[in-house]
Symmetry: C2
Subunit: 146 residues, 2 copies
DNA sequence: TTTAAATAGGACTAATTTAGTCCTATTTAA
DNA sequence: TTAAATAGGACTAAATTAGTCCTATTTAAA
């Protein structure tokens, strides 16, 4: 079980958060990448993905940039995570397709399905309106983070 | 967010499950790997890890092999997952250590912490006594798995 | 109408992680 | 003494992640 946030997802989440906080105007890749110290071309790719999945709108040309496609409260963390990573799923079957459907011998299957639902539900509960106003994490965390 | 079970964890879980179901005797790597169609040398490494983390006991020499170090009901899925992958943690901080502790600007932090706890709690709830007797998954699943 | 500032997108590369293999040493029952 | 087993270090191959780079297109404004 690989339980890490990828940079892509991290960047995407923080990017959408930035847009949620500046939703009154259009922001360019340049501005966002500067603000968040994310490689510009990489962020551009991420924004393209968010565009294709209908989370942000883009405007091309001079003065162009990105803006949320709908209200921040209509965008869940799950939306963003699945836009970037595809469907959240833990199943072993993903590893070896032949094992699943043919074999009836996997007792662990329902556990992964259950865990998947836990995670999806939790991510669904957080929307970017909530995230945008959340108290910034003031306490300095050293051990638990790294 | 990378939400897949690695083969290592998959193998480890099924391996411990096998041992739970055959806990009256010692099983060799050869037997387990044959039974589960897992590369033998790779499984050996995994069992070494499970050994070091106190989940299984080993007996060396002829007639040697592995056995659970304690009752199946005393071994949680979390135990096995963390034995193989290390601490379950999602924090972005893991990606860029400099970001955490220095910056107080990450609103998403508490979300990952919360999600982490969800996952750990769920994994903690499943022990291998429960898993060993679980109804084998009979329904053929095609779409949701792959 | 030209230009410069922007996104769109394909093709590529580098770095890291995952998934192993291979070999040698050690232990131990027969 | 030998053969069947685990222990463990060092290595390799494959896959994924994290990017870069280049060219095309769009568009506001000089
Ligand atoms: S067969 Fe689907 S998780 Fe095991
Ligand atoms: S600083 Fe720890 S998750 Fe953002």
């Amino acid at each position: 079980m690989n339980m890490h946030i990828t940079r892509k997802v991290d960047y995407a989440v923080r990017c959408v958060l930035f847009l949620a906080r500046n939703n009154d105007r259009i922001s360019s890749v340049d501005e966002i990448s500067g603000e968040m110290s994310v490689p510009k071309t990489f962020l551009a790719k991420i924004l393209q993905r968010l565009m294709k999945t209908g989370i942000v709108n883009s405007t091309r040309g001079v003065k162009g940039g990105f803006q949320l496609a709908r209200g921040p409260q209509e965008i869940s963390l799950l939306n963003v995570v699945e836009a970037i990573d595809g469907a959240v799923a833990m199943n072993v079957c993903a590893v070896d397709k032949k094992m699943c459907g043919f074999s009836a011998s996997c007792s662990v299957h329902p556990v992964w399905v259950e865990l998947r639902e836990d995670i999806r539900n939790r991510l669904k509960r957080w929307d970017f309106a909530k995230l945008a106003v959340i108290k910034k994490y003031q306490r300095v965390i050293k051990r638990d983070c790294h």
